[in-house]
Amino acid sequence: MQLEFFDARIWRYLVSAISKVIEEGVFIVSPNEGMRFRAMDPSHVILLDMYFPKDSFETFDVGEEVRIGINFEDLAKVLRRAKKEDRLILESKDSTSFSITFKGKGERTFTLPVLDIVAEEIPEPQLEFKASIKIMSDIYRDTIKDVELIGDIVKFIASSEEFKIASSSEFGEAEIIYSRESGSIIDLEVEDVQEASYTLEYFTDLSGAARVADTITIRFSTDMPAEVIHEIPQGVVFKFLVAPRVE
């Protein structure tokens, strides 16, 4: 099996974000669909879903389905060595190891062991989201950084007019409002008013992934999970579903 991807940095930031919440997981590469990774963190608060479609790769040489058990920390360390303009080649010859090659000014290859783990069977959650907000990824990242200053919990409040992100603690309060007029919102679709709270830490841990995304779509409903979808070039999608806090 051999895959070649045009920008190693996309891998770098996605894997680095994943490694903050999950230790191990399985990449599934199937000849018809492309590469997918789904996993929950040990406390089952978030569900990660990363998808690289078949055509996002420049080379997609896959005979039969391949499963690669990954230690994310180790993989993230290697990917941190990715330079601007590096392409990435992921290769797997046998079931015990796989290699990462950075193709840029030279070719640098790292070989890592394949972990003997089984992919969790996770059902596809069927959720209805009554609020859907699409924003630019840099605005999303700034927002997370703002609320981080204050509390551990982030609260989303969405109406047909505006999207408000708030956090409070004994330390103080933060409130960030994006209205239709402000222009930061690309898209806003909300039924009534939706309001839900989430543990901020997951957003913080995963915010690195937004660096390589073009836009972010946040979907949620009152006291229901929120889905944060990262739209990444070449049709790559990284999303996570996070369970709410209900007091």
Partner: protein, 806 residues
């Protein structure tokens, strides 16, 4: 007319009659008659040890001893004998007098005489002296030549006999002679006390419950007049005439309170088999009821380390006697309320009956072992439970010493001395699959036998070794023990191990559910307890046969042994995961493990066997701390908070469950789900207060505490409520909501009845999470993840489930 009768010995005491001591043996004949056997022939004695160099003046010393004789209790004999003292022959004068109490005075005078090095065996109580010298053991069958007395002379038994010749043992130790049915009575009292500790001068005994083979009875006060129940109880005991009376904490509460209360009311607690004698508190803090064996089952409950809080209901639940969920539970401070309110009174009576039933049930579980302990050590049943294991072994040793004409050393006040203990390896951290635990069988007793260890065989001067066919030299510490002749401990231990072996052979003749099997099984356990106590005994500063160097040598040999086994295991290529004292955890490769066992047995000369096999076992880097999953699905948790005392029941439960889930499924996610569920239950107030109680012992008197630890604050509150609290008491408290320091929010558990007052955050952050994290932390789960779970954070699963149910 002299006749021969058979009897089973129950207890022994003595009385003074006509300026002479009379030994009273309480017994039971095979046909079920309760009898008393009197022996007027026995006299108290002690030894004067003649100093070295004065042996040739023995005669003169004996004369000097005789001159001390006084009329009230004359010295009737002074014999010059040779006995062994720490294995070496020594000359002694044996001084015999008449009245046992006078031994104390003569002892001091003899000690001062010239040529006397020390006085020995002057502190052995007279009735025990008799049992030792006549080789009589409780619950064994003897034949004896007696003459029947015309009257019963104030003994409440079927017949009284006078002994004409020494009793002879009929049944051997290894035989499963079944006893005639003993009458066992359990009792329990409830006291009406408005505030705190009851005061016998004013607080009445409102309920006395009893249970025997004839069923249960309740004796209740007429409102606050308790003369009636006390009289009815006395009458019941006299009528039922029990051989054994059991209670729970009865030596420290029920008996003393009942006796004092009766005293205030002017009632004689005439429940003994000796007319005129009331129960009294005796040597080991036990209450002695002449003619009956009074057993406080609490003594045996204390030895069950698995039960943290040793209340009757907890112990009864643990032993499967009575489920807590199926009985009435009332806190002591609620008793007045339940008594005053006529509607609630029947519940209180039910509670008292449940207590006495539980006590009776405990007796059925515990007495078989207690009886065997008594018969093996030779200590009467009412004392053997109350004494520590060191004393139990010592009584056995004293009997062995008498048989071997060895003098019993005096107990000497000593400071505790420490010495290097057993080896404990640092475990290989992580989860290991398929691990065999190998145990050296009776390692320390076998070391003592093999190397002839004891205070009598230790050799200070190496040049003397030649005289004894050489010496065994302990590794590291270099202490020497002569090879020949066999020492005191060696011969005693060999005997014990042989007895155990014979019993275990006998056992095979009986089906496992037969009463004979049970008797022999309890007996072999009692023998094992004694043999295993020998090493620790030598290192106990209170021991008569104290020998620190011996204990030190034993542990040195033990370390050497286990290290040799480990070295060989490694040579075989067996991974050694952990080792502690006398057990090894190795990877279970059948052929290699068999080779290792063969090596230990053939080359090292010790028995070792596979104790258990863990399907999976997990170690942290800490010693003495692991969790193992056995093949049958059971879980062993060692050294974690789960088995320690200062956590709430809830924390303990969480830890067990988490360990079990992780080991069984290998899925930390499932364990986290479980923690989430518990947190939810706690928040919703569904966890009963009892599970939230934290027990901590007051290690000093309350006034000596400077800082305000939670249990100290709770203890102060308990005192303010009228409860008596002293050093050594276990304080049970819960933390309630509010502001300020946690310690200031600690209340005695009985003051908090509403779960909504509980500080949920404290229990989540300081109990549940740390307890779960101790295990989960080693599987990569972080505190953050667990905390997230605990704070209203939902799980993705909550939303999967919601959908799937539609």
């Amino acid at each position: 007319m002299p006749e021969r009768i058979n009897f089973i010995l129950l207890d022994a005491s003595y009385e003074i009659a006509g300026r002479e001591p009379v030994i009273v043996l309480w017994g039971l004949t095979e046909s079920g008659e309760r009898v008393v056997l009197l022996d007027r022939r026995f006299r108290p004695y002690f030894y004067g040890l003649i100093a070295k160099g004065f042996e040739d003046q023995s005669q003169r010393i004996a004369e000097n001893v005789k001159r001390l004789s006084r009329g009230r209790s004359p010295i009737i004999n002074v014999g010059i004998l040779t006995r062994r003292y720490f294995g070496r022959p020594r000359k002694v004068v044996r001084v015999t007098t008449v009245i046992p109490e006078s031994v104390r005075e003569y002892r001091e005078e003899v000690r001062k005489l010239e040529g006397i090095e020390d006085v020995l065996e002057a502190d052995i109580r007279f009735a025990m002296r008799y049992l030792i010298d006549k080789n009589l053991y409780p619950f064994r069958l003897y034949e004896v030549l007696v003459e029947k007395n015309p009257s019963n002379q104030g003994f409440r038994v079927d017949s009284v006999y006078t002994i004409a010749s020494d009793p002879v043992l009929v049944e051997e130790m290894s035989r499963a002679k079944l006893l005639p049915e003993l009458r066992v009575l359990a009792f329990d009292i409830e006291v009406y006390s408005e505030r705190g500790s009851p005061n016998p001068a004013k607080d009445p005994v409102i309920i006395i419950t009893v249970k025997s083979s004839e069923g249960e009875e309740v004796f209740t006060a007429e409102e606050f007049d308790d003369k009636k129940p006390i009289r009815e109880f006395i009458e019941y005991v006299r009528k039922y005439d029990p051989d054994i009376i059991v209670g729970y904490n009865s030596n420290h509460f029920d008996w003393p309170y009942l006796l004092q209360r009766a005293h205030y009311l002017g009632i004689r607690v005439d429940v003994t088999r000796r007319i005129g004698a009331e129960p009294t508190t005796s040597v080991y803090g036990h209450v002695s009821v002449p003619g009956r064996l009074n057993v406080d089952l609490y003594d045996y409950a204390e030895e069950i380390h698995e039960v943290k809080v040793k209340t009757l209901e907890e112990v009864a639940e643990y032993l499967g006697v009575m489920k807590k969920s199926e009985r009435v539970l009332i806190e002591w401070w609620q008793i007045p309320e339940y008594w005053r309110d006529k509607k609630k009174r029947p519940t209180l009576i039910r509670y008292a009956l449940d207590d006495v039933q539980a006590t009776y049930g405990l007796a059925e579980k515990m007495l078989p072992f207690a009886i065997q302990l008594s018969t093996v050590t030779g200590v009467p049943l009412d004392q053997v439970g109350a004494m520590s294991v060191g004393f139990r072994l010592e009584w056995y040793l004293m009997r062995a010493a008498y048989e071997r004409e060895e003098l019993v050393p005096n107990r000497v006040e000593r400071r505790e001395e420490s010495y290097k203990g057993a080896i404990v390896l640092s475990p290989l951290k992580g989860v290991h699959e398929n691990i065999a635990v190998l145990d050296f069988s009776s390692m320390y007793p076998n070391i003592m036998i093999k190397y002839n260890v004891g205070p009598d065989t230790i050799v200070d001067d190496p040049t003397e070794c030649g005289k004894y066919g050489g010496c065994h030299v302990a590794p590291e510490v270099g202490h020497r023990f002569r090879k020949e002749p066999p020492g005191f401990f060696k011969s005693v231990l060999e005997h014990l191990l042989n007895v155990r072996k014979t019993i275990r052979q006998q056992i095979k003749k009986f089906p496992p559910d037969s009463p004979e099997y049970r008797v022999l099984d309890e007996r072999q356990k009692a023998v094992k307890v004694l043999a295993n106590a020998a090493y620790g005994y030598m290192g106990w500063s209170g021991a008569r046969w104290y020998c620190r160097r011996c204990a030190e040598a034993v542990t040195a040999w033990g370390r050497h042994l286990i290290l040799s086994a480990i070295e060989y295991a490694r040579k075989l290529g067996l991974k050694v995961v952990y080792g502690d004292t006398d057990s090894l955890f190795v990877e279970y490769d059948k052929a290699k493990v068999e080779k290792l066992i063969e090596y230990v047995e053939k080359e090292l000369g010790f028995d070792i066997k596979i104790d258990k096999i863990y399907k999976r076992v997990f170690f942290t880097e800490a010693k003495k701390r692991y969790v193992g999953l056995l093949e049958d699905g059971r879980i062993d948790i060692v050294g974690f908070e789960a088995v320690r005392g200062d956590w709430s029941e809830l924390a303990k439960e969480v830890q067990w469950q988490v360990a079990e889930i992780v080991l069984k499924t290998g899925d930390t996610g499932k364990a986290i789900e479980y923690v989430r569920k518990i947190v939810k239950q706690l928040k919703e107030g569904h966890i009963p207060i009892e599970k939230l109680v934290i027990w901590k012992t007051l290690s000093k008197s309350i006034n000596e505490y400077e800082h305000e630890a939670p249990h100290v604050v709770a203890a102060r509150r308990a005192i303010a409520a009228g409860l008596k609290v002293s050093s050594g008491d276990k304080i049970g408290y819960v933390i309630v909501k509010g502001t300020g320091k946690i310690s200031q929010r600690a209340y005695p558990y009985f003051m908090v009845r509403d779960t909504s007052k509980i500080d949920v955050d404290y229990y989540v952050d300081k109990q549940i999470i740390p307890a779960a994290l101790r295990i989960l932390g080693y599987f990569g789960v972080t505190e953050k993840q667990l905390k997230a779970v605990s704070t209203g954070q939902r799980s993705i699963f909550d939303f999967f489930q919601r959908k799937s149910t539609k």
